[in-house]
Symmetry: C2
């Protein structure tokens, strides 16, 4: 049985191996993705983001539990905003801590952002394709932070959950600036804590000030992840938005734009590969790197010279 | 006088115009950067990052004040982690709020991350080149958030400051995971607040656990940005690290790697441009985008077909 066939049969070890091939950017990864393509596009991808400390990991655990009780297979991709100097060790702990670690209907993968500079969304999409091909119906993509990662998540997720907690105080302002507009559903977690009404009011005010172009009014759902409370309602809201989204005009245009962006990136990479395979181009690139570092030539002129030689 | 000459003479309107050309990715931007190259590489680039609410904007203001008192010209690039749907309006307020708004020795530019997906570091480098060419000796790059942006900052900054505040509580853990290792200097701001000793201890413990490959022991500096306290000491630490860094072995290798990455990106973009200028390639790319969206063909096969036709 080929690796692709094993993935399609739902073999989790085959999926893990394919994901490693993708992370290492091997050419066999491309073949696998090609073969999987016609069997993907069925999963529902839910992006989950929010400030550190908002209890996202526990929330993902409880959301997984809810989908599992509906008999659905759940894939989890945890994106680790690790620095370029360390590895992806923090999220590995995260994987071990999950209470679904031994559940065969749950596949958890942590992904360090290291080595994916500028390509995080694309690598995540490839991971999603593997889970999708393996028959995982719900795919949760969780990231830490309130930066570029979260903006990229919008591109890969069908539904985006933004998690808040009571008592955010001054952070609310920065929070609003960062990721307010990417949320299709806002989750107030730790809803048994004081100040829950305050954060709800602030959120409602912020949401009322900016009407979405697609006409959707983002729902606000309260949860207590540590007790598994509020997750039936959250899943209902996810379904509701998913139905709305599939009917909206924006959706088709957005999918087409994502496809075009991906094709452009693929084309660029292939063109670079082809160019570097030509005689002497690799050496020229290395020599140019040294010359630019020593400020003997500017990068634009260096590339002009390489292009002319092709 | 050409735009490039105006920039080299320190004309701030010319600099602003060049930056807009860069943001819009015009071909004239490339010509300007090419002409500026031999006059750049002199500025000290200081990256400043940390959680929302840590008072980074005020800190940047006070740091600017300190450098101004030394007679140095200061450029500030404020990176705005705005969502793909809004503009970059938040940081525009930030610019107006600066007390250096009317100081000709200070140039402030806000930059929305929108449209720079995966290219934030490169666009920032180009902005830095303009400030550098314009004779700004100190360039402060400030970002919000604890995600991918901050990791990218490491690549463009000579010195990276990470800002903390007392009373971070649970956030400390996530904080450590995210950006602990990118700090050359840690700044405990709002150092007049209670719990300052606690955050210092936690920081020291965290730092003692991970020795840096380059042998540098990150300094911890306390500031009260609202009162301008601690900034002479902070500037001294920045100078100290800068000297250390220039003498370290890693430094040369890192600069070479950055140059090579930039050259590869430039080469990719130029190759794509050249390919798309060929007859029919643009149309093929559009048709492929539709076909992939409709799942009639996988992206890899679509690109194979385009590549073969070149």
């Amino acid at each position: 049985m080929s690796l692709t066939e094993a993935i399609l049969s739902g073999d989790s070890r085959a999926m893990a191996r394919a994901m490693t091939l993708i992370e290492n950017e091997t050419s066999s990864a491309r073949e696998i993705l090609k073969a999987l393509f016609h069997r993907t596009g069925r999963a529902l991808v839910v992006g989950i983001t929010g400030s550190p400390g908002s209890g996202k990991s526990t929330l993902v655990d409880s959301l997984t539990q809810e989908y599992r009780s509906q008999g659905k297979k759940v894939g989890i991709i945890a994106v680790d905003p690790t620095s370029p100097f360390s590895g992806g060790a923090i999220m590995a702990d995260r994987v071990r801590m999950s209470r679904h670690y031994n559940d065969e209907g749950v596949f958890i993968r942590s992904m360090a952002t290291r080595g994916h500079l500028g390509g995080l969304a694309r690598t995540t999409e490839k991971m999603i394709a593997v889970l999708d091909g393996g028959g995982y119906e719900i795919i949760l993509v969780e990231t830490v932070g309130v930066g570029q990662d979260e903006v990229e998540i919008v591109r890969v997720a069908d539904v985006c959950l933004v998690v808040l907690v009571p008592g955010m105080g001054d952070d609310m302002q920065a929070f609003k600036a960062g990721i307010m507009e990417i949320g299709d559903i806002f989750v107030i977690n730790k809803a048994d804590q004081p100040l829950v009404e305050k954060v709800q009011r602030e959120l409602e005010t912020a949401l009322s000030m900016a009407a979405r172009r697609d006409g959707w009014t983002p729902a606000i759902v309260r949860t207590i992840a540590t007790q598994g409370q509020g997750f039936r309602g959250l899943v209902q809201q996810v379904d509701l938005f998913n139905q709305f989204r599939r009917g909206s005009l924006d959706w088709g245009a957005r999918r087409r734009q994502i496809a075009e962006d991906n094709l452009r990136e693929l084309l660029k990479e292939r063109l670079l590969e082809k160019a570097i395979q030509q005689n002497g181009v690799w050496d020229k690139l290395q020599a140019a790197s040294v010359a630019v570092t020593e400020r003997k030539i500017d990068p634009y002129s260096a590339i002009d010279a390489i292009i002319e030689g092709l």
